[in-house]
């Protein structure tokens, strides 16, 4: 299926890639529309993995496999196959099956639920074999393309985790694809712990139901956040209780995330929250139950600003006229770094309204994003593993 055997040309290749990639415009845009319109809630990704599987099959990828976690993987064999590179995009979206996933196409942009996170990442992964073929890029290393499931919330990166623990395939370096934001340079992962505090009442006595208890807990979480150093944050992501205007809720939940650059800090805050929950339960007495469940953890990791991969990414973005900024990640990158695999997360385009029904991606910068991915793959392909810092 490959057109030629031209040796990868790192360096200024990104600029010429960008122009040539426009020839694939329609196929790429159609893949974005299709990946965007397929509902893929965490744990219910089978249709979008089938879409990827169809595209991988059409591209003639070898060793196509759907694993027990529902991940879909295919391999583009390299010329020598001595090393293995991985490109990964999580396929799940934060939206539920019944939400309207219609994509609207306007002048220079598309919008719709889950387009930026991560319909565009999936579409880029689906189109990547064709992109490499169009650009006459053939790598020495084997290239594994992987769509992972169960990334969000309680999914806790289960797909990525399963692949790393079970594929038995040593990975030399990896790129994670996210729809936005093109300027991002993600080479470090934050330490993270994600938890849920549930409050419930069975008694008739509590006039306000669980509202006062929930409010006190949220206030306490925000107090901890206020006390901490800027490197550590406690994000209250949602508070849910009740279903109307006049009936006190008998149950509720607070979802939160602790993030920190500093090793050990997350664990210390987690302990503080556990103590807070225990105190709340004791204070409320019988009739109200307060329960803490921690559902996800990440260890902090950092490739380091001086790593050749990071320097190359910064240089490529600059060459494309894009000012980069460092954005730590809590997604797939964290697990890759945790496994000692040099990895970056790359954004593909610019966009707005992330995680809203009007999630919007700009079309023109997509060619910069794809050019960056190819240039980075070419660089990884030529990178002498001996030169990589340990």
């Amino acid at each position: 299926m490959r057109k030629g055997t031209a040796k990868a040309r790192p360096g200024e290749a990104a600029l010429s890639h960008r122009e040539k990639l426009r020839r694939l415009r329609e196929i790429l845009f159609a893949n974005i529309v299709m990946a965007g319109e397929i509902p893929a809630p965490t744990g219910g990704e089978w249709r979008i993995t089938r879409f990827l599987s169809d595209r991988f099959t059409e591209s003639g990828l070898a060793h196509l496999s759907l694993d027990q976690a529902g991940n879909i993987a295919g391999v583009l064999p390299g010329r020598t196959g001595g090393r293995t590179l991985l490109v990964v995009a999580h396929v799940d979206k934060i939206w539920s099956e019944g939400d309207d996933h219609t994509v609207s196409v306007g002048v220079g942009q598309m919008s719709g639920r889950g387009l930026a996170d991560n319909g565009l990442g999936v579409a880029a992964l689906a189109t990547l074999p064709l992109i490499l073929e169009e650009l006459d890029v053939e790598l020495d290393a084997n290239l594994v393309l992987l769509g992972t499931t169960r990334s969000f919330g309680r999914g806790d990166l289960a797909g990525m985790r399963f692949f790393l623990e079970n594929s038995g395939q040593p990975i030399d370096a990896a790129l994670c694809l996210e729809g936005i934001d093109l300027e991002r340079l993600s080479y470090a992962s934050l330490g993270m712990a994600r938890g849920e505090i549930t409050v419930s009442t069975t008694g008739e006595g509590a006039e306000s139901g669980v509202v006062a208890t929930l409010a006190a807990l949220v206030r306490s979480l925000l107090d901890i956040h206020g006390r901490e150093e800027p490197e550590t944050r406690i994000l209250v992501g949602s508070v849910e209780a009740g279903s109307g205007h006049s009936v006190p809720p008998r149950g509720g939940v607070v979802r939160f995330e602790i993030r920190s650059h500093k090793a050990g800090r997350v664990a210390r805050v987690e302990e503080e929250i556990a103590a807070l929950v225990a105190a709340a339960e004791e204070r409320e007495g019988e009739g109200i139950e307060v329960h803490l469940e921690m559902i996800a953890h990440r260890r902090p990791g950092n490739l380091g600003a001086s790593h050749p991969l990071v320097k190359k990414a910064r240089e490529t973005l600059a060459l494309l006229g894009i000012d980069s900024h460092v954005v730590p990640s809590v997604s797939e990158l964290a697990l890759l770094l945790d496994h000692g695999i040099p990895a970056l997360t790359l954004g593909i385009t610019k966009g707005e309204n992330r995680h809203s029904p009007e999630e919007t991606i700009r079309l023109e910068p997509i060619f910069d994003g794809l050019a960056q991915i190819v240039a980075m793959l070419q660089f990884l392909d030529t990178l002498d593993s001996a030169s990589e810092p340990s």
Binding site: E26, I27, F29, A30, V33, D100, T102, V105
Partner: protein, 328 residues
């Protein structure tokens, strides 16, 4: 009656398809090439900036670049005031203003006018019409309509229908069994052309037709165009000239009942004209072209009138310019 029932049942078995029967796109492209056919896709538009871009992207990518089934994709516009044409052009469609095609014949308002002028402007042996307001667009909206024409030379005209129940929210709805079809067209067909009731969605805006059929048909420029096609071709080719393909579902904006009333009025005009032309009714009085609707404000009712005249264009084959351009 048992004969009629049998004919309809037989036709449903032999000439009703599901899009999944045409999943093998490589085979479809090969059969098209072998048959020496060219295919044009026509999308008639009037202010469709919200949906036109996606339609062009999907059709161009899937049915031109990936599988070369379509030879041209054209948007024929009635004079949009939004960015419909700019968006369509930016994604690679050929765009035309209806008023600039055969300008010597003037310009009339209505979708039928665009469909008629497309016969002159486009080159394909098969023309596939797809409305521009489809939110869940997919390549099958064109491929599964042209497929029966490619595989079965005796079929002349293929209509889409949509038969899968759809969970809907807000103002989205499936259009299978549309209101005007069930309340007006199906009762009329049942009385006068009972075999045509076998067409599950006679008013659907998605259909594919052979050029030699289209060029022979007169075209009402407004609401009646689909109904007149069915009656006129049925008179000459019978039910076996038709086929229909189930495309599962179609999501678009719901139309207010008031607009559907106007649509029904236009269709009825066309229908009555056909009954007269074919001598099926006699001694009808002169019919009014003014459609009357009412709007209540408190206890006062205001009359809203709208003139709806279903003008018709002649069969394209009667135009010398057409015969010259297409060598007929």
């Amino acid at each position: 009656m048992p004969d009629l029932d049998q004919r309809i049942s037989r036709w449903l078995e032999t000439n009703t398809f599901h899009h999944s029967e045409f999943w093998d796109m490589q085979e479809l492209v090969r059969a098209k090439r072998e048959a020496g056919l060219t295919i044009s896709l026509c999308i008639p538009t009037l202010n469709e900036e919200k949906t036109i871009g996606k339609e062009i992207i999907v059709f161009k990518s899937e049915l031109m670049d990936r599988y070369p089934l379509l030879d041209e994709i054209a948007v024929i516009d009635s004079g949009s005031t939004d960015r419909t044409l700019e968006i369509a052009e930016s994604f690679g469609a050929d765009t035309y203003l209806s008023s600039e095609i055969l300008p010597q014949y003037g310009s009339k308002p209505g979708k039928g006018e665009n469909l008629w002028k497309a016969i002159h402007q486009l080159r394909g042996d098969i023309l596939c019409y797809v409305d521009a307001d489809i939110k869940n667009i997919h390549a099958k909206f064109a491929s599964a309509l042209v497929a029966p024409l490619i595989y079965r030379p005796e079929i002349q005209y293929v209509k889409a229908f949509y038969d899968r129940p759809l969970a809907v929210s807000d103002d989205l709805r499936p259009s299978g069994g549309g209101r005007v079809t069930e309340i007006l067209v199906r009762p009329l067909f049942s009385m006068f052309f009972p075999e045509l009731t076998a067409l599950i969605q006679p008013l659907s805006g998605e259909y594919a037709v052979r050029r030699e059929v289209l060029e022979q048909l007169p075209f009402p420029v407004g609401y009646g165009v689909e109904t007149s096609h069915l009656i006129d071709l049925y008179r000459t080719g019978g039910l076996d000239a038709f086929a229909q393909t189930d495309l599962d579902n179609r999501v678009h904006r719901n139309q207010p009942t008031r607009d559907l009333g106007r649509m029904a009025f236009g269709i009825l005009q066309t229908f009555v004209k056909r009954l007269r032309d074919y001598g099926m009714v006699k001694d009808l009085p002169e019919l009014h072209g003014l459609f009357r609707q009412f709007q209540a404000e408190g206890h006062r009712h205001e009359q809203i009138t709208r003139e709806i005249l279903e003008e018709e264009r002649p069969p394209m084959i009667t135009l010398p310019e057409y015969r010259e351009r297409h060598g007929r």
